[in-house]
Symmetry: C2
Amino acid sequence: MDPRVARSRATVLDAATAILVESGPTALTVDAVVARSGVARSTIYRHWATRDDLVGDVFDHCTPLPAPPPAELGFEAAMRHFLHDLVRQFADPKWARLMPALMALKSYEPTMGAIEQRREAMERKVSHELFTRGQREGLFGPDLDRNQATALLVGPIVFALVSGEVPITEHLADASLASFMAGVRAGAATAP
Amino acid sequence: MDPRVARSRATVLDAATAILVESGPTALTVDAVVARSGVARSTIYRHWATRDDLVGDVFDHCTPLPAPPPAELGFEAAMRHFLHDLVRQFADPKWARLMPALMALKSYEPTMGAIEQRREAMERKVSHELFTRGQREGLFGPDLDRNQATALLVGPIVFALVSGEVPITEHLADASLASFMAGVRAGAATAP
DNA sequence: ATGAAACAGTACGATACTGTCTCGTACTGG
DNA sequence: CCAGTACGAGACAGTATCGTACTGTTTCAT
């Protein structure tokens, strides 16, 4: 690949990401990227057919993917691993500001919806695999509503992100997990 | 108040709300409101100085306020009341679509930030009063992190809203509360 | 009834953004 | 070295949106 192309693409993506983080999706115009990156308008349109393609690429470029926990861990340890990874992702101020924007956009823009859906599917695949471990350990039966359980575990961390009032720390993840485990032991979460 | 004014304002707000719900904030242009409402452009600008004022009014008009639970209820019953009320709010498809948009906007637009902050302050005031009840009942000590506890209780419901994969029902609220109470009884949530 | 106010309809200037195009320059790979 | 390619700079048309101004009509309150 021509190093000039790689350099231009990287410069544009960096500038576009910065604009998106600082000022939101509507501020991400081609002219703004030109002004900020110093890359010429014609060069941008050589690499992206439309502005929307560029926006999509920026989101794609920033979207973190969940890391599957080591297979040897049991449910609780693996879920802790998973939640800590989530906390680490949310600690990145870039993604912390982009995710609410992506959440809002996905309702209106089908293009963004696809990006968010892909990320969410990955996340759900990982979390469901963890629930399978828990089921094998006899923590809960097959009647556990896994989507709801995911909400109980992940919800508090997402809430902390969008609210901004709760610090996003591993301690919060531990509290969420401890609360869930207590509920499981009390038999609450296994209700259909 | 002149009935013509009341009628115009209501017609405009209805149309603007519909546009906002269906197509998002960027689609909420003055021309779009003119086309949808049938109200003349000059009339709109007679009642709202700028487009942003109109958008703010629409959000203000749709933002639900939390109902303080009856004072005679104990912590658990009152919190259940509070969470059920939240579920009821999120069940309104209008607010369900507007809230993510407001969450995303609040990072970039200070005007929207003020609206969201006011709503959030109300909600936090109510929830903190509930925690005071729980503390009086001896469920937890004064060292309980109330913001974090709010995240544990409300987070799953908010997650259900933004994810779209979990049905927002009173059963979800009950599960969240049951999990939290189990954690409290196990002494987990009282850790600083 | 009548004056005042609100209304519909519309034209207008100003600005901003998109996507295309051209031209001359600078760089890369063979 | 040199042909091919990417690049910078900017003009351009087309469209969208905002906010203002103006005209004539309808409606309200007294």
